[in-house]
Amino acid sequence: MLKVQGLSFYYHRDKEVLKDISFQLDRHDILCLLGPNGTGKTTMLRCLLSLNKIKNGTIEIDGVDFTKATVRERAEMVAYVPQATAMAFSYESFEVVLMGRIAHLPTGGKPTAKDKAIAYEVMEKLGITHLIHKDFNQMSGGEKQMILVARALVQQSRILVMDEPTANLDYSNQVKILQVIKDLAEEGYAILMASHFPNHAFLACNKVALMRDGVIMAQGNPEDIVTTENLTRLYQTPVCVTEAELNFKRSVTKVCVPVMG
């Protein structure tokens, strides 16, 4: 579905921020992009959203050159879930979700009953209809993130790009968001998420890419890629990938633990 090949980007010609990035994302895929701070994860997401203009390489979606599409066509292909921040003014959360329909509105038109129905259905699916009339700025981080996911979904594109969807969330909200991401992938969405939690790769993702200094160090299946060796190299600090026994489920899961001193 999404095919990135040889992508590179720089602000100044002599200092490349992203170098020769290639990967592929298909329906049902959840690709977790891991890497230390300032390594170019956000820059890459911005390139995929055409907020940054790529200098080399190609981005193809179903064989269509994404960089040549109009802003409206792009919005119909890829939706973005930013990190939850406050809006400048107090908006009702339903108004925020409805904003995602903008690409589908005719010029000068207003959201129709159909647009509102779509927004309501999406919120129903995410189980957040109780938030409909709440002030977005007054909501908790987890609730905000859910509203932003809803806003991206009403755009009705098939690829979701998420910038650290679990940042600043407690465990319960992290799990909620990850569950939503998993469900969406099952439905057929292709999802690319940047994250600072390698554990999430095991919990939810079927693909992982490790990025350092603007290069993808390794990519593939989390089982093979997220290893003690790779993570230690990625973060330049000792990280141990081990197995934890889930007593109540009688199963074993992999976990990543940073090691101190």
Partner: protein, 341 residues
Amino acid sequence: MVKLSGNKKYGLTIAILSCFIVGLFFVSFLIGRYSIHPRTVLDIFFSNYADIGEYWHDDLDIVVMQVRLPRIMLGILVGGALSVSGASYQTLFKNPMAAPDILGVSAGAGFGAALAMLWNSSWWQIQIFAFVFGLIAVTATYLIGSIFSRQEITVLILAGIVVSSFFQALLSIVKTLADTDTQLPSITFWLMGSLGKGTNESVLLMLPALGISLAILFIFRHHIDTLAAGEDVAATMGVNVRLMKMITVCCSTLMTVSAVSICGIIGWVGMVVPHISRMLTGSSFPRLIVTSFLVGGSFLLIIDNVVRGVKGVELPLGVLTALVGTPVFVILLSRVKKGWS
């Protein structure tokens, strides 16, 4: 069916505001040096359309149709224009403090207009000069603001103060060059802000610029609304951000300028009214422009009625809007601060 809770309330609020402004429109005819019976005002008003025997003095006809009518119309149009312009700047810059006077647009437009007056230019030339310098001022404010920080609310305001001061300095130069007997008094009085100069012609001259700007803002109201979510986010939602920014700045500036070039610099309306409107019908831009226009029109008309009602001396309008606007703004600031973050 899905309903926004605000929907019914919004319709009701707009209905009430509309009735209020229409009522205020007629009541305003009663205020002024000549006291005229309400019945006579209505009769004079409708005598143009219906067959009503003329039982009043000709002077009264002039007072109602040539003096009070344009002044009242200007009050509504200028108040509405400044308020919608302020609402647009606030949404565009995601900044609750933004307003035509704060961003330097008024000072720039004032300088442009004064410069044109210095050369005894025609009304059109004054408009064009005011528009060009208003646009230069807001662009300068935006650029200066973005050099230091794109996010900080205060930086944009500081940049606006700098740009305002710059144009006020230029304005002072224009004033020293102006003819002290004829040009200087008119420039000075005009700058203080007054609806008193309004004629029916100036209302007609203001209407096209105002009408076109309002129409364009209305057409793109939902697109402009998304800018409040952030420019990058708006772009990923399919909005041509650069175009929307240009449209919003041009339309807001044009509206401000059409007001400034007739009535001088009237501060605070553009900043305070959008906040009152948000408290009434919420932040959503499509609603905000309608509410702001009605509230702004009523607001300025009421203040101008006070100006006309005070016997003996005509206080400058700009002074009164500042006197009313500043405390209201402080109250609003303390009440809604949480919602801004």
